[in-house]
Symmetry: C2
DNA sequence: GGTAGTAGCCTAGCCCTCCTAGGCAAACGA
DNA sequence: TCGTTTGCCTAGGAGGGCTAGGCTACTACC
């Protein structure tokens, strides 16, 4: 009988698309096998286990996001760079809710170090060059930035902002204004 | 044979404790049934389904958190209130990781409106009284605050800050300083 | 205090997912 | 063309989610 031509990469991509459609929690090895017209047991030739699959989705998403952020950041500095970074981040999360959710998985340290998350962290730090912050303020600022972005995006997604009529887009713009303001004028100890 | 004396409240509490121990994703109806020395099918007399159980954990957590925040806020104003709120929030999330994770479930609008999440939102807004912000800045500031808290706590938990030596406690303190600074000096449009 | 009704638990059983063991056939390199 | 590897298969066990239908312990009311 003809082979389906399954590879780990095709598997990961299909899983990522499935995640965006039906949510990560519904990305199962069995569903993926059905998508390829193959028995679920066959996929264990390519995958270690179900967690392995989710980790691969997360790594794919991290790489894609880092690419997008890098493209958005090219040739920009200061607030311009901050806004471009933030919008690339939020847009990715909204266009790929499943991939974004998958990214939140707890990676073990070695995997995390080998992932595009490192590139991501470096780019975040690069933005702060425009704001002239020395250590340890720089680390604190990086953490605050990332917290704000991630927090906003995930609250927006789970409907945490639904009870107020104001559009989330407007709040997002103003939050970035505020972030730019603190970074420009970081409080001293 | 003697009855186990299972009630929805006891079930929810046990599930919340189980969530803190083994993670929400491992809170199963079957595991809960074992804990009460009862068959899993019996629990469907008390619960609609597995999702119902998770929603109940979320509602319990929201109520507990709102209580803690309310206690922390009593008699405080300005930055003092901001810091007390933030610490109550973060402490709860760290002491009850499973409950906190359960809180992130997507509640349907009616359930959300009837939950302690509303109280929580009101208290967040109350803090801003000390900063004299008019609408719509107030809403934007509430959203930014909540985003920062949630983002920081969840990144801290999933290990997003592990790659830098600086302690998360220090970054947290400085993030609150920065937040206080922007709220005190909210940028105009 | 007997008894009807209901609340609380049971068994049986179906479907789904995860995963392992062992087998066979297609594709490929020598 | 003939192994060897690669890719898929069947069979099956373990465990979670959930339904249907039945029995029993408790409660309330006459």
């Amino acid at each position: 009988m003809a082979r389906a031509g399954v590879t780990v990469d095709r598997l990961t991509l299909a899983a990522a698309e499935l995640a965006d459609e039906v949510g990560v929690e519904n990305v199962t090895v069995a569903a993926l096998a059905r998508h390829f017209g193959v028995k679920d047991a066959s996929l264990y030739f390519h995958l270690k286990n179900a967690r392995d699959l989710r980790v691969r989705i997360a790594l794919l998403a991290l790489a894609e996001l880092a690419d997008r952020v890098a493209a958005a950041l090219a040739g920009r500095a200061g607030k311009d760079a901050l806004v471009a970074f933030a919008n690339a981040y939020r847009d990715y999360a909204r266009q790929h809710p499943g991939r974004y959710a998958a990214m939140q998985i707890d990676l073990d340290p070695e995997t995390a170090m080998a992932s595009a998350g490192v590139r991501h962290a470096e780019m975040t730090r690069a933005i702060l060059r425009g704001y002239r912050l020395a250590e340890p303020d720089q680390t604190d600022a990086v953490r605050m930035m990332h917290s704000t972005f991630h927090g906003f995006v995930s609250l927006e997604k789970t409907g945490g902002f639904r009870h107020t009529p104001r559009t989330t887009d407007d709040s997002w713009t103003r939050t970035l204004d505020a972030l730019d303001a603190v970074l420009s004028n970081w409080p001293s100890r």
